[in-house]
């Protein structure tokens, strides 16, 4: 043992003498420093000029650094392992001791330098944050970014390329194979596979590490086992006595310990991959068959959130009107375990449909059916959605549950005219809960608050949002608007006049479309974390991701003292942010107020985009609205013509279904979001803005709280499909 430590010390000493390692450490520091601003170097426009703080600086530098330094360390490692072959010094070295010790000592020394590099790099970035940007340091983000993201990436690279080198005994082959594993990680969206730089775009300032910490650590565990497996396999095939792969393997296999350990880590990696506990396949869009013979009448959710453990405990009562069905299907979330299920008060056995997150419940052939489901657990999301498109999470600092997560099991039935929703959410008292509909009462019960609400809605889509919110209460034309945001972003909200904009959006829509659909329910606009990008609107609750109001204070120069736009350099980002909110607010008119029946390209998205565009045009002028919206829309619509694969049936047959599906989805998106507003603008051009908007006001009035089809719209607007054709 003592000798082995001496060997490692010796390697460390001589690596240091070679100076390459010093260069490597220096290069790492430079790369990490560049990485601080790496978000602005991507093409992810929505993340430009995000406010710098410990979470962004540490994560961005570590992510950027991990990507490049893993390659550098892999190269360094393979060159060190190949050294004796290159220099023809192996026979001399091997005559002194088992060559395995040399391999081991070299790998340990490189890992030692990876640790040193991590520490020095982390200190360098902290120094830049403190001394150059003058931002206070929150060490926990640094420990997360450097000890859980940066260093493990280096470690995995070192272990994997060592394994590959021992296996192939070739510098080229091992580098190429490693390169393939590396690229595969960069191209994947699956959080389990993205070992190089995680699948996060950014660490949320709003929600912190909480919602994604476990998955990142799990990814690290998985890849630790995978890289150990590759290393173990490499050791098993390590060439012995100048023999080939096969005979060397037979010799190495005699080492029972190594063989057992390798088999164990391989099995461990397999198990870790398959038994992964945090995600599931969300298959909402696949083969949902709605049972039209039964409809939902009321729903009563009684939920208790255990945010400390990221779990919830639910009792949800559904009341249905049954017109001859004998089963009801529910879309469920795989992370929530059903403890008990009662139909009209009697416990029954339900069926889980194979390979789907759907359960089937038998019901009696009576008109009124009540189903009570008791369930608990933590919400799972899709593997590709971790950190980017999480429809739901419960964490200590915040709760975000969108209907799309099926956190309230979704009955696959027709929705009635009106659904009575009443119930409560219980959450720790430090959290402010945003409930759907109207908040009836808040009770405090030992450290928790009970948020009681009621709502009469035409969908059962309800969400739950909580954080340590600041709340701005405004009133626009007798409609109460509640704006929830984190105090961390208060300065930006104030400086960039976000509340004023919300107010003026409401006014603009009221004036140009009509009255807000309800006087009973306040409109709730809620900041949520970036772990779900973009915005969302359902019933009277709007959410939007934090990046919208968490930009750098260099953005403040956009507005002058009189709140007029003065600096046009970053105005497109500001306009885009406001557009996101304006789009979701417009959904309160088109989506919630009027139920727009999808008929591609017709949908509520086209109307929402048209009106948010109009709002931005009014606020920022033609130059901005055209540059940020019109031009990109036209470009995307033009691209539609190039969907050769979809437009050509012969080709379609040859391609795989998934690819076609994703192309079709993309095409549909472009039609809903870009083509339709362009058509509406064409209509406006034909009729003149005044006549056109008056027409729309009429349509809104007539269809408020009712459906609106494309044909009805065209007819009432005196338009035809041909007239608003865009080429």
């Amino acid at each position: 043992m003592a000798n082995k430590i001496l060997l490692v010390k010796n390697e460390i000493k001589y690596m240091f003498k070679e100076k390459v390692i010093i260069l490597l450490i220096l290069a790492t520091c430079i790369i990490l420093a560049i990485g601080i601003n790496s978000l602005n170097m991507t093409n992810d426009f929505n993340l430009f000029y995000i406010k710098r703080n410990s979470s962004t600086i540490s994560f961005n530098s570590a992510k950027f650094g991990a990507t490049i330094c893993s390659l550098l360390f892999a190269l360094f490692t393979v060159l060190k392992l190949d050294k004796d072959k290159r220099k023809r010094s192996r026979t001399i070295v091997e005559s002194n001791l088992d060559y395995l010790y040399i391999i081991g000592a070299r790998i340990f020394s490189i890992i030692f330098y990876a640790v040193i590099t991590t520490i020095i790099g982390m200190i360098a970035v902290m120094a830049i944050q403190k001394l150059i940007y003058n931002i206070p340091i929150d060490i926990s983000y640094y420990l997360f970014s450097y000890l859980i993201i940066f260093f493990p990436t280096l470690l995995f690279s070192i272990l994997m390329i060592s394994g590959l080198y021992l296996l192939t005994e070739s510098l080229d082959m091992s580098v190429i194979t490693f390169g393939m594993i590396f690229i595969n990680s960069l191209e994947s969206n699956n959080y389990l596979l993205t070992w190089v730089r995680t699948n996060l775009d950014i660490v949320s300032d709003f929600a912190g590490i909480g919602p994604i910490g476990n998955t990142i650590i799990y990814n690290r565990l998985l890849w630790f086992l995978i890289s150990l497996s590759i290393f173990g396999i490499g050791l098993l095939f390590r060439r012995r006595y100048e023999s080939g792969v096969g005979s060397s393997f037979l010799i190495n296999m005699k080492s029972k310990g190594l063989l057992t350990l390798t088999i164990l880590v391989i099995l461990g990696s397999g198990c870790t991959y398959t038994k992964e506990p945090y995600t599931m396949e969300l298959m909402n869009d696949l083969d949902i068959s709605i049972d039209e013979n039964i409809c939902l009448d009321g729903i009563c959710p009684e939920i208790k959130f255990d945010s400390e453990n990221g779990e919830m405990d639910a009792h949800v009562s559904y009341s249905f009107i049954n017109n001859g069905s004998n089963t009801i299907k529910f879309d469920i979330n795989d992370g929530l375990k059903i403890n008990s299920l009662k139909v009209n008060g009697e416990e029954i056995v339900y069926q889980k449909i194979k390979n789907k997150n759907v359960i089937e419940v038998s019901i009696p052939d009576v008109e009124k059916v009540n189903v009570d489901i008791f369930y608990s657990g933590s919400v799972k999301c899709d593997k590709n959605g971790v950190g980017r498109g999480m429809p739901g999470y419960i964490s200590k600092e915040s709760i975000y549950l969108l209907e799309a997560s099926n956190w309230i099991f979704r009955p696959l039935i027709a929705e009635g005219d009106m659904i009575d929703i009443s119930g409560y959410y219980i959450a720790p008292d430090y959290l402010t809960m945003v409930v759907p509909g109207r908040l009836v009462d808040v009770e405090t019960i030992d450290g928790n608050k009970k948020w009681i609400f009621e709502y009469s809605s035409h969908t059962a889509d309800i969400g739950a949002f909580a954080a340590k919110y600041e709340k701005a209460q405004i009133e626009v034309n007798n409609v109460a608007v509640e704006f929830y945001y984190t105090p961390k972003h208060e300065e930006y909200v104030d400086n960039m006049k976000i509340v004023d904009h919300i107010k003026s959006m409401m006014e603009y829509y009221t004036q140009n479309i009509g009255e807000y659909y309800s006087k009973d329910y306040p409109l709730k606009i809620v900041e949520v974390s970036i772990y779900k990008r973009g915005g969302h609107s359902s019933e009277n609750v709007i959410t939007f991701a934090e990046n919208t109001i968490n930009r750098d204070n260099s953005m403040y120069s956009i507005l002058n003292k009189n709140n007029e736009i003065e600096d046009f350099r970053k105005v497109d980002i500001y306009a885009n942010d406001l557009n996101l909110i304006a789009h979701e607010v417009a959904h309160q008119w088109w989506g919630t107020g009027v139920n727009v029946i999808d008929d591609t390209p017709w949908s509520c998205e086209g109307l929402a985009n048209y009106f948010s565009y109009k709002y931005i045009q009014k606020e920022f002028g033609d130059m901005v609205s055209s540059g940020v919206f019109l031009q990109p829309w036209k470009y995307r619509v033009n691209e539609l013509k190039n969907y050769y694969y979809i437009n050509n049936d012969d080709m379609k047959e040859k391609l795989n279904e998934r690819f076609i599906r994703s192309l079709e989805m993309e095409k549909r998106q472009a039609e809903l979001y870009y083509l339709m507003p362009l058509k509406l603008l064409k209509g406006e051009e034909i009729q003149g803005e005044k006549v056109f908007l008056e027409g729309i006001q009429g349509v809104y009035r007539r269809h408020l709280l009712k459906d609106l089809t494309y044909d009805e719209f065209l007819q009432e607007m005196n338009l035809t499909r041909e007239a608003i054709d865009v080429d």
């Binding site: 000798n3 001496l6 060997l7 010796n10 001589y14 003498k17 070679e18 220099k87 023809r88 010094s89 026979t91 001399i92 070295v93 091997e94 005559s95 002194n96 001791l97 088992d98 040399i102 012995r240 006595y241 100048e242 023999s243 010799i251």
Partner: protein, 297 residues
């Protein structure tokens, strides 16, 4: 130290590089391994240092099979392979310091390094990077690392290739000095190298051991098989023809005032030849010749 090889064979892709070798070596010994290139010398050496496994047969070191005793062997071994490279970016001193660590030398490391540097006359070069040294100097660094741990078993493979005569003599002395209480195995295809220093000689050809014993015994075997003849004028053709037939082997040709004087080695020396006392080199040639004849049968 005792090394025992029993029925050692080594095949490379079906071709026998070593064929049923049996050999026992005890310390002290100064052994010369001779044989032409490709005779199997390097293969045998690699086996002795535990870097190659025999296809069949067993090697034991101090009574324990080598594959279970590699550590024991390597702790006592100094080895300089025929074809080797060094860490050229290091200085002589650094390289030896690095190797000392691999050899597990903890105490008196500096003294050991000083000792081998002086033995190989590298004092002036100790602070120089190895890449700046000449071929002979690098060879000396190779030797220096091999004797750093004062090995009980020193194996050097073709150590004098590329050295000038003076360096060669120095080397020979270096090995012979060290052989008093240990085993030194010197492999070479140059008889001169071992003539003066080895007390034991092993002749190897085409994977077979042709002779094991003292050099004088090898010479003794060649008695009556070495002779000279002086040919005048045109008879040269005839003698070359006879060599072609394999009747004898010409070991040297000297032009004399009267014609050409040939020195030959033969299984059965024709009576026309004048018998002379064989040199070790003659004896080696005779040994090879005999081996070929036997193999021919």
């Amino acid at each position: 130290m005792n090394i025992k090889l029993e029925n050692i064979s080594k095949k490379y892709k079906g071709v026998k590089a070593l064929d049923n070798i049996n050999l026992e070596i005890n310390s002290p010994a100064m052994i010369g391994f001779v044989g032409p290139n490709g005779a199997g010398k390097s293969t045998l050496m690699k086996m002795l240092v535990g870097q190659l496994l025999p296809t069949s047969g067993s090697i034991t070191v101090d009574g324990v099979p080598l594959n279970k005793n590699e550590k024991h062997l390597k702790e006592r071994l100094g080895y300089l392979p025929q074809d080797f490279g060094l860490y050229e970016e290091l200085t002589v001193e650094e390289f030896l310091d690095y190797m000392a660590c691999l050899k597990g030398i903890k105490e008196n490391k500096g003294e050991s390094i000083d000792r081998v540097i002086s033995m190989t006359s590298l004092e002036e070069k100790r602070k120089f990077r190895i890449k700046t040294l000449s071929g002979g100097q690098k060879q000396r660094v190779g030797i220096a690392q091999a004797i750093l741990n004062n090995p009980e078993l020193l194996i050097v493979d073709e150590p004098t290739v590329g050295l000038d005569p003076e360096e060669r003599i120095k080397f020979r002395n270096l090995f012979s000095e060290g052989s008093k209480d240990k085993i030194v195995i010197l492999s070479t295809h140059i008889i001169e190298d071992i003539e003066s220093i080895c007390n034991s000689i092993i002749v190897l050809n085409k994977g077979n051991i042709l002779f094991v014993g003292q050099p004088s015994e090898l010479v003794k075997e060649a008695l009556d098989h070495v002779g000279t003849i002086e040919i005048k004028g045109n008879d040269r053709e005839k003698i070359l023809e006879s060599e072609m037939k394999g009747e004898f082997k010409i070991t040297s040709t000297v032009i004399t005032p009267n014609g050409t004087k040939y020195r030959v080695v033969s299984e059965s020396l024709p009576s026309s030849f004048e018998k002379i006392t064989p040199s070790l080199e003659d004896a080696y040639v005779y040994c090879m010749l005999k081996g070929e004849v036997q193999n021919g049968k």
